[in-house]
């Protein structure tokens, strides 16, 4: 068997043994619908769990920092329920914005809120999954965060 034939049969063997699920392919194709060419990206710069104070058990807190060119987003994630997360966030520098959750699994359920004067916001029940936040600022510009798994 020459090498090209062998590679063809290898591809077929792996395709039969462990095919990529069709829904994974379909999700990849539809990923383009999440594109926001007009929004600035705030990239994930830090992701760590905060150690619990001594004597406290149970809920851990995860701290996410997204850094953009003009705006950073700090988010604290607490797991209040098994399938829902509470997000407490802050825009730095503080500014007024409409906040919307972009959720891969619940694309059509709009979960949104506004920041207060200090640039803070709370989203009390965000289902776990792949999530990105979108901010519409008062000057009509938008910022989106990188996607993260909650």
């Amino acid at each position: 068997m020459n090498e090209d034939e062998l590679l063809v049969r290898l591809r077929a063997a792996f395709q039969a043994l462990d095919p990529i699920p069709e829904d994974v392919l379909a999700a990849g194709r539809s990923a383009i619908t999440w594109r926001r060419p007009d929004a600035a990206l705030a990239e994930l710069a830090d992701d760590h769990n905060r150690p619990l104070p001594a004597g406290v058990r149970g809920v851990t807190t995860r701290l996410l920092t997204f850094a953009g060119t003009e705006l950073s987003v700090e988010i604290e994630v607490t797991g209040t329920e098994r399938s829902n997360r509470e997000l407490t966030g802050r825009l730095v520098p503080a500014c007024d914005a409409h906040v919307r959750v972009r959720h891969l699994t619940y694309a059509h359920d709009v979960l949104s809120t506004r920041t207060d004067k200090a640039g803070q916001f709370v989203l009390p029940r965000v289902p776990e999954g792949l999530v990105s936040l979108e901010f519409h600022l008062s000057d009509a510009t938008s910022v989106v965060t990188s996607w993260v798994r909650l």
Partner: protein, 183 residues
């Protein structure tokens, strides 16, 4: 230029073309890009021992990362290597999060295909599938990536090994496989 290199160059051009068209909003070009690379991304995730759900997450996260920085891509032709590297990083992160203790190149029980599928593979692909299963895990992974990666640059990124060391490793694994096949 060797024929193989020439083919790779053409493929790179085509990939660059797809990226540029997708950036301009061509959904069909995006789908072709997804169809071309998802198999490689899936096999990277599986090489880290991730189950189907986590593997699917890694592939999806990798595509979303590309969507995020679509406008910042300096070399659209090199996007395959970038995708492979991103999938590795996401796989590692996912494996750590889900407490997968096994290292890449290790097989997890839940990664094993159903028996009837193996049987089918044996019947249809016979010797190659059977020979593959007798190879060291590292060779299985390399051959899988080799069969799926469009170019050496992408293969190097998928395996996280220097491009120069691919030749010998590839030759050794192919030779190992050939020796297990009936003449």
């Amino acid at each position: 230029m060797a024929l193989e290199e020439e083919l790779h160059e053409q493929l790179d051009e085509a990939t660059a073309d797809l990226v540029v068209r997708a950036r301009d909003g061509d959904g069909a070009a995006w789908s072709r890009l997804v169809d071309r690379y998802s198999g490689l991304l899936w096999s990277i995730a599986r090489s880290f021992g991730l189950n189907e759900a986590d593997g699917g997450d890694v592939v999806q996260m990798t595509w979303l990362r590309l969507i995020e920085r679509m406008d910042q891509i300096a070399e659209p032709g090199a996007v395959g290597g970038w995708l492979a590297t991103t999938a590795r990083r996401e796989s590692l992160r996912t494996a750590q999060r889900s407490g997968t203790r096994r290292l890449p190149y290790d097989v997890r029980e839940d990664a094993a295909p159903p028996p009837e599928q193996i049987l089918l593979a044996r019947e249809r692909l016979g010797d190659v599938a059977a020979a593959l299963q007798a190879l060291p895990r590292r060779c299985q992974v390399l051959l899988r990536m080799l069969a799926l990666a469009p170019s050496y640059a992408e293969l190097a990124a998928a395996l996280d090994i220097p491009i120069g060391s691919i030749g010998p490793t590839r030759a050794r694994c192919l030779d190992n496989l050939q020796r297990r096949l009936p003449r």
